[in-house]
């Protein structure tokens, strides 16, 4: 196809472990739990998996190859995500390409991490060499400090307010209350949001994710291997990724999605207004604003006004992060890049429980790999339920 789409591949299964603030389990254990759940959902035995895409920050010294050994797999295609929170979507897109090329038939796209606040900060202090040598020594505050700078600049440049960011955080908390696996169990009020403990101003506690432990997985397969399952097959209609965009401009307040979004929408034959939900990468509310702009839902600088007019809860006219997202469900390290994929697939399969939308298609977006002043990688995909 001239569009370079993802024909011939279906998302056949989905799985997620319990999200927990602390766990005695190893990351390998969480990877297996997520994989086992997703294989159960797809109806495939473990040995049917011949391709594996894994992202887990705390996996070293192990890697995807050793995970295959651990699980007793004999894969002919392996991939390990090096794109932080963009890795979940990218692993899925690359896995789909492998199936299209005949390099694998059944690909497990898998993320997990074992994190708490202390281990998260420790990792972030040495995330890569530019962070370790040129940010850590200056007390940058981890990603909180970096995105405090972006949030400050965004507010200064576009006039967005703390209340604008708070509205989105509160809406996601409402969505989380319908997700039994979300770690936050009580509503968030604007007063609580605005007066929460300062972390790195203008960011306060509820602008920051809760590091936790958990795992997420989707199973991709060649379409002829998967019975239609009463409309539970999900397809990738379009997707893309970009890295280090724009070169030389850390503070563009753009992530790079604008670089591939037209091609993605063209692949799908759809536009932003056709999306019935959006699962954004919500490491910080400001990045959700940037994503809405870069993905073409509103013009640059227009996200605050766009969101003021919309209800982004599950019952609203523009649902965002319908499971609560990382801000209210939790950020299980690299699984933060997969939680949106899993939520999108659950919604499209009709398996989202109390938070179920009536939706045929939606978008999921990824972002990550914080380096010298910003995340380097972004990704997105449009997913749709088969009619």
């Amino acid at each position: 196809m001239a569009t370079g789409g993802y024909e011939g591949v279906v998302i056949a299964g989905v799985g997620q472990t319990r999200y927990e603030k602390r766990t005695e389990k190893t990351v390998q254990h969480l990877l297996w739990e997520a994989l086992d759940a997703a294989l159960g959902s797809a109806g495939f035995p473990m040995r049917r998996v011949d391709g594996l895409a894994v992202t887990a920050f705390v996996l070293p010294p192990d890697n995807v190859t050793v995970v295959a050994e651990h699980f007793g797999l004999e894969p002919r295609w392996l991939s390990q995500g090096a794109y932080g929170g963009a890795s979940g979507v990218i692993g899925m897109l690359h896995g789909a390409r492998a199936i299209q090329a005949g390099d694998a038939d059944v690909v497990a796209c898998l993320t997990a991490d074992v994190f708490d606040v202390a281990s998260h900060m420790d990792l972030m202090d040495r995330f890569n060499s530019s962070v370790r040598d040129y940010l850590g020594p200056y007390g940058f505050g981890g990603p909180n400090g970096i995105y405090a700078l972006h949030t400050r600049l965004y507010m200064d440049r576009y006039g967005a307010t703390r209340e604008d960011f708070g509205k989105q955080a509160i809406s996601q908390r409402q969505n989380a209350l319908l997700n039994p696996n979300a770690l936050f169990k009580t509503p968030l009020t604007m007063e609580e949001y605005l007066n929460a403990r300062p972390i790195a101003d203008p960011l306060r506690l509820y602008d920051c994710v809760l590091p936790c432990s958990g795992g997420d997985c989707v199973i991709l397969a060649r379409e002829d291997l998967v019975a239609s399952q009463g409309g539970r097959r999900v397809r990738i209609l379009g997707g893309g990724e970009i890295h280090n965009f724009p070169v030389e401009d850390v503070f563009s307040l753009r992530g790079g999605w604008e670089r591939f979004r037209d091609r993605m929408y063209e692949q799908a034959g759809l536009g932003p207004s056709d999306m019935e939900f959006v699962q954004l990468y919500d490491d910080y509310p400001v990045m959700e604003f940037v994503q809405l702009e870069s993905l073409g839902f509103c013009p640059p600088g227009g996200a605050a006004e766009f969101l003021r007019k919309r209800d982004t809860t599950v019952g609203g006219d523009f649902p965002i992060n319908t499971g609560g997202g990382q801000l209210s469900a939790g950020q299980a390290g690299a699984s933060g890049g997969m939680i949106g994929v899993v939520e999108a697939v659950l919604q499209l399969r009709g398996e989202a429980g109390a938070r179920q939308l009536r939706a045929r298609r939606g978008m999921v977006s990824g972002y990550g790999m914080v380096a010298y002043g910003r995340g380097l990688s972004c990704s997105a995909a449009i997913l749709a339920r088969e009619a």
């Binding site: 202090d125 040598d133 200056y138 007390g139 400050r152 403990r197 790195a200 850390v250 503070f251 002043g373």
Partner: protein, 137 residues
């Protein structure tokens, strides 16, 4: 308490770190006549044009604040006693972006530092290494 995290001395960044110990800010600069851009953080090649030949030049240490944050929750416990402090992004007058701290206490909380002129000041970071912070001009 653990010591503060310190940059590793490498074959690439020696002039920067040794310059800091003399209270001088040194930057890489591309030697290609068509480029001549300054570079930070230290690289093996010019990120503007891809050429491998970079020299080192002493910078003015002057710049402008692009954005700033008061950090209440440092990423490393060695910074806890100093918190809250101002983490800042500085656009150096030579062009590169430089992330550092403001060597300043007691600013009014509502002070907007965006666009303010700053200059490098060097502080003893660890017993072996001095590093550039910035102060308002």
């Amino acid at each position: 308490m653990e010591p503060k995290p310190s940059p590793r001395l490498t074959a690439i960044n020696q002039p920067f770190l040794r310059g800091s110990n003399r209270d001088e800010l040194w930057l890489q600069r591309c030697v290609q006549p068509a480029c001549r851009k300054f570079v930070f953080y230290p690289r093996v090649c010019c990120p503007h044009c891809g050429a491998g030949a970079l020299t080192w030049e002493q910078a003015t240490g002057r710049g402008q604040v692009v954005s700033f944050s008061r950090v209440f929750r440092p990423q490393h416990e060695s910074f806890f006693p100093e918190a809250p402090y101002y983490f800042i992004a500085v656009r150096l007058s030579e062009g590169p972006l430089f992330f550092s701290r403001l060597d300043h206490q007691g600013l009014p909380v509502e002070t907007n530092l965006i666009g303010r002129q700053v200059r490098a000041v060097f502080v003893q970071h660890t017993p072996e290494q001095r590093l550039p912070l910035f102060e308002l001009c």
